[in-house]
Symmetry: C2
Subunit: 320 residues, 2 copies
């Protein structure tokens, strides 16, 4: 039996392209583990990438992200699309099944061969979301997914990061969670291309919709130019709002294509991906410098007040 | 009148060392703004740094961080210490007064000339906490603070970052918040040197104390070697537990000093600080590369599948 580590990259990539969920899973595991073979993997995937549409989905805990994702997966499957779901938890050091374990709603799609689901931990990853997620998306893209949904909980700056990874970002809110203010504070308004007020049968749904609409019209949305994000009401648990959401997503895609925004977003995304890989490489070299004790020696001088950290940083860069 | 931007660094540093709260505030603002004069500032501060003891304080929202900080400030002031408080909000794009505005408990110290208080936003900062906070700590250290408390809300990986900045990390919990499990999940157990169960008059306080003690004894605490973190009960609002907390902190300091851990932590901290400054510099150069369109050109090739991101990253590094 061949060991896991000596995976034959061309074979693995070929199997992933033929639709093997197992091969896809193994490739994403290589990304998670920052495996040295990734360089070869990405080179093999490159000619087959650029097809998938990437949809980001973010919101506070409890707004119904997994139910909404499931609703969206259903709608996309009804159109015959192959769908990937990448659930990224920026707060958890755990990966693999941990996150999807409690995602009951997604179970309904778990036996569908045209749906790939995967959770990924980004915490502890050097470079976090910005390093690992684009490469996992690249795997799903090359595996023939028409649409990949990146789902992440909106804490810290994760929702800004997920927006940077997606063609279209869906921001999910729920009535009565003080989400309006939260959204304004967290900068969620600036990143949303489509807003969904889920659990719209609850009290205050119309107020939340109105608040979001007002804040959007007040906000500075220069990057999006003419795009006015729709605010959609949904009850994802009952599948209500799926049509409106699909319409909102398709309108945004059409608008982006028409205005050259889609291409520019993808260029920006690739720039950040290249930058993250380059920074990781530089940092690894610094780690070698450190392992060679010279960074620690500089640090000891800084601790003793013999040298300031900027001068020390200059010497580290010079040593690279 | 001299403009803010043309601040005379040697004068500002001299004033800060003489105890001018205004000069300290202006220096920290330079850090927040990533002002070009920082290099000169840090060089001027270096000979005067290394005196302050850095205490990190972290916990979930609602556990009573500001009340506990205030209690600790009071206890330190009673010993005649000069105290700095740096409140870092990893989730907020706002800075300055925004955070301290609602910190009623700290107001009691706000007229005390021997207490510096400052809130800082880290979000959006290139390098986040790891870049800006150590430099702000350096300002407070050189300004003659005996102790600096870095307070941050435990979300995302902020509590791990704050532990990396501190000599001693205090993890704050409260009964009945499911904090035990939260702590285990978030990796808070590994970073705490001293645990405080605040609001100890609430139901379940003893259960929380027991849970934390059990998890500590189960956990792998190799880095701390022989140190067994105390779990202290407190009612910070009434000042109860201040003595136990001070004792726990002093015991940890004595243990660290005895075992050489304090010096090693400071070396590690300075290493990370140097690394963060160096990485920021490398990234700025990449930004120049990007502005010169070459990164975008590479990105366009990656989007088109003509090149993989690793090969592109190699070319970016070669161009630096």
């Amino acid at each position: 039996m061949r060991s896991r580590r000596s995976a034959d990259v061309p074979t693995l990539v070929a199997h992933a392209r033929e639709g093997s969920a197992r091969a896809v899973a193994r490739l994403i595991t290589l990304v998670e583990n920052a495996d040295p073979s990734l360089r070869e993997v990405m080179a093999a995937l490159a000619p087959h990438s650029g097809h998938a549409r990437i949809i980001g989905l973010t919101g506070s805990p409890g707004v119904g992200k997994s139910t909404t994702t499931s609703m969206l997966v259903g709608a996309l499957r009804a159109e015959g699309k192959r769908v990937g779901v990448l659930a990224v938890d920026p707060t958890s050091p755990f990966s693999g099944g941990a996150l999807l374990g409690d995602r009951i709603r997604l179970v309904e799609h778990s036996l569908d061969r045209e749906v790939y689901m995967r959770s990924m931990a980004s915490r502890g990853h050097l470079g976090g979301l910005s390093w690992s997620t684009p490469q996992a998306l690249r795997v799903l893209d090359a595996a023939g997914c028409d649409v990949v949904i990146v789902e992440t909980v909106g804490v810290g700056q994760s929702e800004v990061e997920v927006a940077g990874l997606a063609d279209t970002t869906v921001v999910l809110l729920a009535p009565g969670m003080g989400d309006g203010i939260q959204a304004a504070k967290a900068g969620i308004l600036e990143v949303g291309d489509v807003f969904v007020v889920n659990k719209a049968d609850r009290d205050g749904a119309d107020i939340t919709v109105r608040e979001i609409r007002q804040m959007i019209s007040l906000g500075d949305r220069t990057e999006s130019g003419l795009w006015r994000p729709p605010v959609i009401k949904a009850i994802a648990e009952r599948g209500e709002g799926a049509g409106d959401l699909m319409e909102g997503l398709n309108n945004h895609l059409a608008w982006m294509t028409e205005h050259g925004v889609l291409h520019q977003r993808r260029i920006d995304r690739a720039s950040r991906e290249i930058e993250a890989i380059a920074l990781r490489q530089v940092r690894a070299r610094m780690g070698e410098v450190r392992h060679g004790r010279s960074l620690d020696d500089l640090a000891a001088e800084v601790v003793a007040g013999q040298q300031d950290p900027y001068a020390a940083a200059d010497r580290v860069i010079a040593a690279l």
